[in-house]
């Protein structure tokens, strides 16, 4: 399967990426190659093979329900471009 311009537009929208119009053909070709590779994988017979969720054949370790993190807001907010009353400020988004 090869990707058309509409597919690329949708992927860009979902990934919040801006691709210039003259890049679309190149990106489309590369992504199509990847999809072709996946198609090839899909052709393998996997009947009776349980889906793998993780390459390591182990189970998740669980931690005790204990508060271990102190309040380090001051430190973390030094990185933020804008803060007010302890809140991180971002361009307004309402859906």
């Amino acid at each position: 399967m090869s990707l058309n311009t509409k597919d690329i537009d949708k992927l860009c929208e979902l990934a919040r990426l801006a691709i210039l119009p003259d890049e679309i053909a190149d990106v489309s070709a590369k992504l199509s190659d990847i999809v072709a590779l996946v198609d090839q994988l899909q052709s393998a017979d996997t009947d009776g093979v349980p889906p793998m969720a993780h390459p390591l054949d182990r189970s998740q370790r669980l931690r005790a329900d204990v508060v271990t993190e102190a309040d380090e807001r001051e430190l973390f907010q030094e990185n933020a471009p804008l803060v007010e009353r302890g809140l991180y400020l971002v361009p307004k988004v309402i859906d």
Partner: protein, 477 residues
């Protein structure tokens, strides 16, 4: 054409853990903004999530209480979308292999038991909170809630009316609080729900196109929003139109649901297993251990209250609505010779009213269960009347002392000795010759007047039954 509604609910209940689902930050409600958001919650590069054991145990307990299967192996997945209160750009949730699936719960609606299927319940992290006011065109982000553990409980589309959906939501709410896995506080957003609603001609088996109603955070809103949405869909279909599959927001002020345009385009979450987390294995020994430790569940307790204490379904419903209330009631019954019904009346009536007036929970009651039991004993033995008991109750409530102490100090003991009562009756008869004549002329309803006068003369302490007997005897003479 007659239509029927088909409704399924997705309930998000916040789990009552101390720390977050994937980090050691605190989950306390109402903390200073961003004071409980650590590097993991902020989505810093290089950090890794570590799963909270307690959240897993809570999910299993819920599954066991709803006849679900507990997955021996379950998997966390990334749900990808961009929003400023989701710093990683994905929410860690579960998709193909949820921790709990395939159960049911029985719900009582209009005195009928209805079985609602539970498709699945999965663990996930909550997002942060966006505040859109007061920041000069910017949004403020508080990430304290980011990473708070949620259990998302997805029902089968088994409900057929807004009332059934409300009853289901209430039943699950009671259950999660019984299990101690959530405080269920709806004002604080610890218990909220989305509803999938569609309609179809009555008798049809195919499902109609559904809409999803978002963020219904009170029982009343759920019922109201679903009713409005059902009516809206019927209007569309009867007008020859088609229901569009979309997400709609309930506006309580305007009493309408409206489309959240734009949401559909983006709704492609591209789930995939989270490589940061290994599959979770749950062994059957742990499941059995948790099963054995489950508390008595609300439905069982309700049944038992009806059979053991002879309570009506109505009384049993109210008394088993929360575990602390049910415990208080049983404690009280265990401390009194009075009937279980009298105890129920007092707990549901005067006690609940006093708690509501004071804005207190049952655990903060100013009259203990055994003290209330003593009060009931005094009523039962005839030492005080029901009316005087209310006065004693108020006095105990305001901290004036114990039941017997107050009865003694205020001289409230009921007058049951015949000599004193006869003297009171004689006085009243002597003072009201006209009414005596009326009675003797056959107008026997004036007896009530005499009883009232005697009660007044005794300051409410006369035993009304005895007063009646004595009056009849004397007036009849």
């Amino acid at each position: 054409m007659q239509f029927e509604a088909v409704i399924g609910l997705e309930i998000h209940t916040q789990l009552a853990t101390e720390s977050k689902i994937f980090s050691g930050a605190a989950t306390r409600y109402g903390a200073e903004p961003n004071s409980q958001a650590c590097l993991v919650d902020l989505g810093y590069p290089g950090v890794l999530p570590v799963l909270n054991r307690e959240a897993v145990l809570m999910a299993i307990r819920f599954g066991l209480a709803t006849h679900c299967r507990i997955a021996e192996r379950s998997v966390f997945a990334r749900k990808n979308y961009f929003y400023p209160d989701l710093p990683k750009g994905y929410q860690i949730s579960q998709y193909e292999l949820p921790i709990v699936h395939g159960g049911y719960i029985d719900v009582i609606c209009d005195d009928e038991i209805k079985r609602i299927g539970i498709t699945r319940a999965h663990l996930e992290e909550d997002a942060g909170k966006s505040l859109h006011e007061d920041f000069q065109g910017m949004s403020g982000i508080d990430l304290n809630r980011a990473g708070t553990p949620l259990l998302e409980i997805v029902s089968e589309p088994d409900m057929r009316s807004a009332a059934e959906a409300g009853a289901y939501m209430r039943t699950i709410h009671t259950l999660v609080r019984y299990l101690g896995i959530s405080d269920g506080n709806m004002q604080e957003g610890s218990y909220r729900c989305d509803a999938n609603v569609s309609i179809r001609p009555r008798g049809a088996t195919e499902l109609g196109t559904r809409t999803e109603l978002k963020n219904l955070n009170s029982f009343r809103f759920v019922e109201k929003a679903i009713e409005i949405e059902i009516d809206r869909q019927i209007d569309i279909v009867e007008g020859g139109g088609k229901v569009v599959q979309e997400t709609r927001l309930y506006d309580a002020d305007r009493g309408e649901t409206r489309s959240m345009r734009g949401k559909e385009e983006a709704e492609d979450y591209r789930y995939f297993p989270d490589p940061d987390l290994l599959p979770v294995s749950i062994d059957s020994a742990l499941v059995e251990e948790l099963r054995a430790a489950l508390p008595e569940l609300p439905a069982d307790k309700r049944e038992r209250f009806m059979s053991e204490y002879g309570l009506s379904a109505y009384d049993a419903d109210i008394l088993t609505a929360s575990r602390p209330l049910a415990d208080y009631y049983e404690d009280c019954v265990g401390h009194t010779q009075a009937t279980a019904k009298l105890a129920a009346n007092w707990v549901i009536g005067d006690l609940t009213a006093a708690l509501n007036r004071a804005g207190l929970e049952i655990g903060e009651s100013r009259i203990g269960a055994s003290e209330l039991g003593t009060l009931l004993d005094r009523i039962e033995s005839g030492a005080i009347s029901g009316k005087i008991a209310k006065e004693v109750f108020e006095a105990v409530w305001s901290g004036e002392g114990g039941v017997d102490e107050i009865i003694e100090r205020r001289g409230l003991k009921q007058i049951s000795d015949s000599a004193s009562l006869e003297a009171l009756v004689d006085e009243v008869i002597a003072a009201n010759p006209a009414q005596v004549q009326q009675y003797r002329d056959g107008k026997t309803q004036v007896l009530g007047f005499f009883v009232g006068q005697v009660m007044k003369a005794s300051q409410g302490r006369a035993n009304p039954r005895q007063v009646n007997e004595i009056l009849r005897a004397k007036l009849g003479g």
